[in-house]
């Protein structure tokens, strides 16, 4: 309060400007000192690795080797399937579920607490559990199938289609709570009056969703799709710990194949080339996202 009154008096209003002019040099030095750590980090650990990575990946020979590798086309398809289904299924479910969690009452609150568990747990613990849960011989799922129907369940991780599906399942399981929470926050920001007005006009639940919620959340949904796509593109752990890239290297994605080529095969140039082939997707996404995030008020 005292502050406001001081600002209101004309005498002090001119003072800061004068003072700012007076200590301009010192301020500039302080500002410089304040931003130096971040600039140093950015140059040493972002700019330098990007430059070095591009240099490593600039050898045409590694691209010839990469495109000649029969694992590579499979990996590209896997990556696209993973992004398409993993990201879109997850976000669609999250959007719908966020509506459910808007309900009032202790039960919904409790359910939300339980529902957040996958996000609060470390990814590694969860993915390892899912790996063993889906074991074809002794996993929980196939044991359940055996107890109920007395038939052998499918070999989830020994069949490339099922294994990729399992990875996508693991990804959705882990990240669904996070995106549901984001959409929940988005829904809460919508004014209640809009829904009340729709009620007065006799709108049904579906109509309220399609005519009020959806148009207002479309922009946010789009940003979330892009961000989630980028994060999923760089996701290493789901594939590494659920399918391990197997069976027979059939479920690798670009992120895991890059690491495999660089470290297991010991060829960093090949590994970097593998990762860099994602740039045609990554660059437009990154540019669009940077524009959107700079404009928007809400940071995710």
């Amino acid at each position: 309060m005292a502050v406001t009154t001081m600002i209101d008096s004309p005498a002090t209003r001119t003072a800061p400007a004068a003072r700012r002019r007076g200590t301009f040099g010192a301020d500039k030095l302080w500002a410089l000192a304040f931003v130096t750590p971040y600039v140093a980090i950015f140059v040493a650990f972002v700019i330098y690795p990007i430059g070095y990575g591009l240099w490593l990946g600039s050898d045409p020979a590694s691209y010839r080797a990469l495109f000649g590798d029969p694992v590579y086309p499979r990996t590209v398809v896997n990556t696209l399937v993973y992004l398409l289904f993993g990201v879109n299924l997850k976000l669609l479910l999250a959007l719908l579920l966020s509506g459910f969690f808007m309900r009032r009452g202790w039960w919904t609150k409790f359910l939300l607490l339980v529902f957040m568990l996958p996000w609060a747990m470390p990814a590694l613990s969860s993915y390892l559990s899912i790996n063993w849960m889906l074991n074809g011989q002794w996993g929980l799922i196939n044991n359940l199938i055996w107890q109920v129907a007395h038939v052998d369940g499918p070999p989830w991780l020994d069949n490339s289609g099922f294994a990729l599906g399992s990875v996508i399942y693991g990804h959705i399981w882990k990240w669904l709570p996070f995106w549901t929470l984001i959409f929940l926050a988005g829904r809460m920001a919508i004014s209640v009056e809009l829904y009340e007005a729709a009620d007065v006009d006799g709108a049904s639940r579906v109509q309220k969703f399609t005519h009020v919620t959806l148009p207002l959340m479309a922009g946010m949904y789009l940003v979330c799709t892009m961000l989630s796509t980028i994060w999923a593109l760089g996701d290493f752990n789901a594939v590494r710990f659920i399918s391990g890239g197997g069976p027979a290297l059939s479920t690798h994605v670009l992120a895991t194949l890059g690491i495999r080529n660089a470290f297991e095969l010991g060829d960093p140039r090949l590994g970097m080339a593998t990762v860099l082939t994602a740039l045609p997707l990554l660059i437009p996404l990154a540019i669009l996202l940077m524009r959107q995030l700079r404009r928007s008020e809400v940071t995710i």
Binding site: V3, I7, A15, D27, W30, A31, F34, V35, P37, Y38, V39, I41, F42, F45, V46, P49, I50, G53, L56, F100, L111, V114, L117, W119, A120, M121, P122, A123, L124, S125, S126, L128, S129, I130, M133, W138, L140, N143, W173, F178, I182, A185, W231, L233, F236, N237, F241, G244, A255, G258, I259, A262, P268, A278, A286, M290, L293, R294, T299, I300
Partner: protein
């Protein structure tokens, strides 16, 4: 009247069904990890769906580090903890200094720093792993926790800068100006006005950075090759390399490893709310 009652009944059935579905979906892998951790070795390889003879054997093995992969388990836990705390402190320091300079001192090149942070934010972490490994070799930091700390601070700071700027926008600039009139220097404003008022955001981001680093696997795996510096996730990953993984030990260790983040998340959930729940863990 009856139509409304019927509508309510349908609503109730729907809620019940969806609740059951959500609980099963969420708890299945969690049930599995607990189930396996309570089984003996022979029982792990059986068709049981629940622990027939629940035992704490696996937990006591982890506790007493009585398995060769778990020989230094508690040391690894403290490594994970140490790295997490350092990452959190550095992220808070660098993030708050930078956002103070950008939004409170209004430096002219602030937009460039914001863009730099945005750029870092939209680059997938794993894509820089290969050059990073090479660079850390050049810096002589292989098998050194500093290398992992550097990566994690680099990737946690941009998010810190966004949140601090957003949160700081609610603190009136007039406060700073008033302090200047009283002759305060920028560091004094930073320490006496900015930081105390930013406390909720600092708690949220500190937790975020701690969890990010606790959960990080790839860089720890690449940069910490062995010996006393290894963190827990690296060891958990090693279990999969052998043919006959002792899944009960692995699951017990994975549960112990999951407890601190769960406590932190559910303990700080309220402090993280108010727009700050928006913070994700970068995958």
């Amino acid at each position: 009247m009856t139509a409304r009652r019927r509508g309510r009944a349908i609503d109730r059935i729907g809620v019940t069904l969806l609740s059951v579905l959500l609980l099963v979906w969420t708890l299945l892998p969690i049930y599995n990890i607990i189930r396996v951790s309570m089984q003996e070795k022979e029982e792990v390889l059986s068709t049981s769906v629940y622990p027939i003879a629940p035992s704490s054997h696996a937990f006591s093995v982890v506790f007493h580090q009585a398995f060769w992969l778990l020989e230094t388990f508690w040391n690894q836990m403290s490594n994970s903890f140490f790295i997490g705390v350092v990452v959190a402190l550095l992220t808070l320091t660098i993030g708050s200094l930078t956002s103070f300079a950008i939004s409170r001192m209004r430096i002219r090149s602030g937009w460039m720093l914001t863009n730099a942070a945005l750029l870092t934010y939209v680059i997938p972490l794993s894509f820089l792993a290969i050059p990073f490994y090479g660079i850390m070799g050049k810096y002589g930091l292989t098998n050194n926790p500093l290398a992992v700390i550097a990566v994690e601070v680099t990737f946690a700071t941009p998010y810190a800068i966004f949140i601090f700027q957003q949160y700081g926008a609610s603190i009136p600039l007039e406060l700073d100006e008033a302090a200047r009139i009283d002759g305060a220097s920028p560091p004094q404003i930073f320490f006496r006005i900015y930081l105390p008022l930013m406390a909720p955001a600092l708690v949220a981001i500190g937790t975020y950075a701690l969890l990010l680093s606790w959960n990080e696997y790839l860089y720890a795996f690449l940069l910490l090759s062995g010996g006393k510096v290894v963190t827990v996730p690296v060891t958990l990953g090693k279990f999969l390399v052998g043919d006959e993984a002792p899944w009960n030990y692995l699951m017990a260790a994975a549960i112990i490893y999951a407890i601190p983040p769960l406590l932190i998340y559910y303990g700080f959930r309220r402090k993280m709310s108010g727009g700050l729940t928006m913070g994700g863990i970068k995958g």
